[in-house]
Symmetry: C2
Subunit: 210 residues, 2 copies
């Protein structure tokens, strides 16, 4: 089958595609593609090409482009691995652990570029916003909220998330000084008490326990 023919028709699956690293390779390629092209101009075929696999395999592992997009977000946050660590150590210090985790993801250049692209896509394309909304709700906020012993736990989790999102925007996107250059631990130190209050104190500011 010629390269031209394969581009037009349904691509043949190659034996090399099926290796155990294929799924991970596709995810890395997807992050790079979304980062470089944005949500709109990223295609399943382009992701497949960048990963060195057939488009059929991308469909096989992930389904639609939106599903790949959601998986590309998730691989950056690793919620299944990290959230239990943050939430499982009790209420004391939860604000600090959450702030450090979130800032840490953005301080890592390997995760920052694709995440920036994802955030930009979500802010400019309703389809991408919908994916992020679904992902943020299902995977991150609900898990956090499920561990909280406060009224309106999801609202509280969203308030904490909003603060971290805003810091990301001002520090990494708009790059307002001195916030853009300050030591990340300085941000954690200042922000942790705000997150702690949202996640563990009742409306009038009294701790719900401890």
């Amino acid at each position: 089958m010629t390269e031209e023919k394969r581009r037009r028709g349904r691509p043949a699956r190659k034996a090399a595609d099926e290796g155990p690293g294929a799924r991970e390779r596709i995810l890395q390629a997807a992050r790079a593609e979304f980062a470089e092209r944005g949500y709109d101009r990223t295609t399943m075929r382009g992701i497949a090409r960048a990963a060195g696999v057939d488009a059929a395999l991308v469909h096989h592992y992930f389904g639609t482009k939106d599903d790949v997009f959601a998986a590309a977000i998730e691989v950056s946050f690793e919620p299944a691995m990290v959230l239990p660590q943050i939430l499982g150590q009790g209420e004391a210090g939860i604000g600090e652990r959450l702030a450090r985790y979130f800032i840490g993801i953005w301080e890592n250049p390997a995760t920052r570029a694709p995440l920036l692209a994802i955030v930009r896509s979500a802010l400019t394309h309703e389809a991408a916003a919908k994916v992020l909304r679904g992902f943020v709700l299902r995977r991150l906020l609900e898990r956090v909220a499920g561990e909280l012993d406060v009224p309106d736990p999801r609202f509280r989790a969203e308030l904490a998330a909003s603060h971290m999102v805003g810091i990301v925007i001002l520090r990494y996107v708009i790059q307002v000084e001195p916030l853009a250059s300050v030591d990340p631990e300085e941000i954690v130190r200042m922000v942790a008490p705000s997150l702690q209050r949202y996640l563990t104190e009742d409306v009038d500011g009294r701790p719900t326990e401890d």
Copy 2:
């Protein structure tokens, strides 16, 4: 001079342009143009056409496209009018007043649409980000910081701003529930203590005065 000719050459200034409302009309047109087309595709000529004035008058009043962009942001925030009210009443309640002012601008549909467009532009175009950075720094954050009696007042002002920006992103852009539908006063009530801490308390959480 024919309409076709005027489009090609430097437009003649009409007597009607010079009315006292021309500047305001240009600003309204600029906000609408930036909102509809985004930063990149908005032109001085397009703004002039929408305002019913000659492009030369837009240049006369504002200079460059970036200057119009900055002015379009500023007219939404009205910092000259509003900031003295927020800052001039002492430290007690400053977090609540700032939160209510900021949310209020976004709850008003007349200011929300153009602001959303401006935020989207700043998040996706470096030129727009640079304008917002300059504006945010010069006009808003420095004025707020100038009134604060805390260490690193600009950093503190930016932390407060970051929280409000993040709420705007989650509530109005990504529209995460329940944050997207909750009564604005509920947000003010929850967020005000965080802003108050940034703007008036020292690093260890002790009030700097009162």
